[in-house]
Amino acid sequence: MAESGPSLAKTAVLAEHLVRKFGDFTAVADVSFRVEAGEIFGFLGPNGSGKTTVIKMLTGLLPLTAGGAWVEGLDVRTDSERVRERIGYMSQKFSLYDDLTVTENLQFYGRIYGLDAARMQRRMDEIVHLNGLKPYLERRAAQLSGGWKQRLALGCAMLHEPKLLFMDEPTAGIDPVARRELWDLLFELSGQGITFFVTTHYMDEAERCNHVAYIYYGKIIADGTPAELKQLPEVRPKGAKRIEITTPEVTRALRLLRKIPGVRSATIFGESIHALVDEDFSAEHVRKRLQSEGMPVTEIRGLTPSLEDVFMELTYRRQAEREAAGA
């Protein structure tokens, strides 16, 4: 069971039928996926669905109950020491030492990975240049804003030049501008061949990934590129289309809309409603209907499903299945 298969060369992470149980509770049930080298892999799912557990198994923090996992070609069950030397990891909290300066934080992780003086200097220069940390080198980590802490944490995690970085909700709690800048940085690094394994709750971030997988109750329910997922038959059923209806009175409109025949499902998105309707459904008909009830309609237009639509749809279906199975 050493190195599995010939295609592992280009594979950064391979998970095969991963299972993790805590007593009677199954946190991860039969999870399989493959992350190719150089991808930005978005690992998505609601809280408590098993994301962090999977990351802990892949990084050697938790033993597997069953199944197999290979990271950078190494079996995590037998070679977790070497796995740790080759990966970078950024946890949900920024794992920095608040009372140490930016330089000292970087040096600490450099020493941990056993970088010699010359390599340390070279990597520090590269990271400081790349992450724009230069003005803050002598500042204590505690005094940095969320976005800069983020960059420092990323710098610490990649000082030893890992080819694969695990990031567990790297952008939770930082402002939108910093979020955007971090993603620009990830793309730049990804262009240099570094693989990113990222968890997030932000759908705009998921849309930017090359490859996403969605985990729900310990099972992967979607796996592919964002474009592929939007073409899934479950999301785009035969004889149906998606429309977006913009109206100032979304709540009342939603209630009415759900009663109209031909409307299969409808959800509010801010000022508008996203609805899945029959293919021959007439937009004009709806407009008139809503207006006759005193609800002005600003716009009705066709819609390609967003990733959020995809995950919502899949989640509803699984939920219904679970309930049916339970009942």
């Binding site: 923090l61 740790r84 946890s91 794992s95 030492y97 020493r111 941990i112 056993g114």
Partner: protein, 373 residues
């Protein structure tokens, strides 16, 4: 082998930085034990002197006044009041103003002059057993002495003359006995508290989880964290010994470098204990509470206050598990008795074994990743 301690240097450097960044904590952790030492060293005198005493002298003649003078001159009794009846005598003791009451009956002188046995009533508050014991001893001795003086013809010697000689602490000075023991307790406090935060702080910050994903090995991490505090603990030891020698004038009979050398295993145990506490605790508040746990057994079972030999067997057995027991013996041995390595090596060895054991237990918790983050 080198791999077993991987990350040691990195962690050591980082811990030194933490200590340097927080000089206030360092200052207080070094200063407060010295302050405690000064307060306790000056404040506590285990010799019982000047016990508050109330006197009811119903006789009042020459013989009775001579007896009272002898009691006063013993340095044990300090007469705070003379009363005129039994009720007042009792009241003074019940109210706690006096610990001892002496009643000389009206016929004291008469009986002595007639060659009969005269009785003196000595009431003693037994609520403090050491005070009571001392009062009993002194009054009995004075009574015996007084009787012998009257019974023996003038100038004749006692048949048996006991000549006790106190070794090692001839003046029975309290600090000489007390401070070497106190040193053990103070060192334990400083070191255990300093390291008790070492790991739990990283748990709270989430940096421990990060370290687990790096190639750092448990022994590298733990020893790297331990070593800076080892130096601090050793510095504190030197400061305590300096205070003891030059402020409390405790003579050091043994070899000072030997004391320094044999304190190393004790520091090692205390620090490892702190590390173990830190790995068990989930929050810094829990760590503080756990760090208090070893203090009371160390105070009461180490021989620092009560002799271990006189304890009930179960506590005597328990005292062998208390690291401070061994260091109290080492410290008193070197400082008071001038003991050498051949007397004390076994104590040091036990401490070293204990320290290693605690460290291994702590490290195993990391290997099994049972530390909740």
């Amino acid at each position: 082998m080198r791999d077993l301690f991987r990350g040691f240097g990195a962690v050591f450097f980082k811990e030194v930085l933490h200590v340097r960044r927080d000089p206030a904590t360092l200052f207080f952790s070094l200063f407060i034990p010295l302050l405690q030492m000064v307060v306790l060293g000056f404040g506590i005198d285990t010799n019982i002197r000047q016990v508050n005493t109330v006197v009811y002298n119903a006789d009042g003649r020459q013989e009775s006044r001579e007896l009272l003078d002898r009691l006063r001159n013993s340095d044990t009794f300090h007469v705070i009041r003379y009363v005129e009846n039994d009720r007042e005598l009792n009241d003074e003791i019940i109210s706690g103003r006096a610990r001892a009451g002496i009643k000389i009956p009206a016929d004291y002188s008469d009986r002595l002059l007639h060659g009969m046995s005269a009785q003196v009533l000595v009431l003693i508050d037994g609520s403090d057993s050491s005070v009571a014991g001392q009062a009993i001893n002194v009054t009995t001795a004075i009574g015996l002495d007084e009787s012998l003086r009257r019974a023996l013809p003038n100038g004749e010697n006692f048949a048996v003359d006991m000549r006790p000689k106190l070794l090692f602490n001839p003046d029975s000075r309290s600090p000489n006995f007390f401070l070497p023991g106190l040193m053990s307790i103070l060192l334990l406090n400083v070191t255990t508290f300093l390291t008790a935060f070492a790991i739990v702080r990283e748990k709270e910050q989430g940096t421990l989880e990060q370290l687990f994903v790096t190639p750092v090995k448990p022994y590298g991490l733990l020893l790297g964290k331990l070593l800076p505090y080892f130096f601090i603990g050793f510095f504190e030891l030197c400061a305590i010994v300096f205070f003891m020698r030059f402020i409390f004038l405790v003579p050091i009979h043994g070899n000072l470098p030997l004391l320094a050398f044999l304190s190393l295993p004790y520091l090692f145990v205390s620090l490892s204990l702190g590390i173990l506490i830190s790995s068990k605790a989930g929050t810094q508040a829990q760590a503080v509470q756990l760090a208090f746990l070893p203090i009371l057994p160390s105070v009461f079972f180490s021989g620092y206050i009560f002799p271990r030999e006189t304890m009930p067997w179960i506590f005597h057995a328990l005292s062998y598990l208390v690291p401070a027991s061994y260091f109290v013996n080492i410290a008193r041995g070197i400082i008071l008795r001038g003991a050498g390595l051949r007397h004390l090596w076994s104590d040091a060895l036990v401490l070293f074994v204990m320290g290693t054991f605690l460290l291994v237990v702590a490290a195993r918790r990391f290997q099994n990743k049972v530390i909740t983050t």
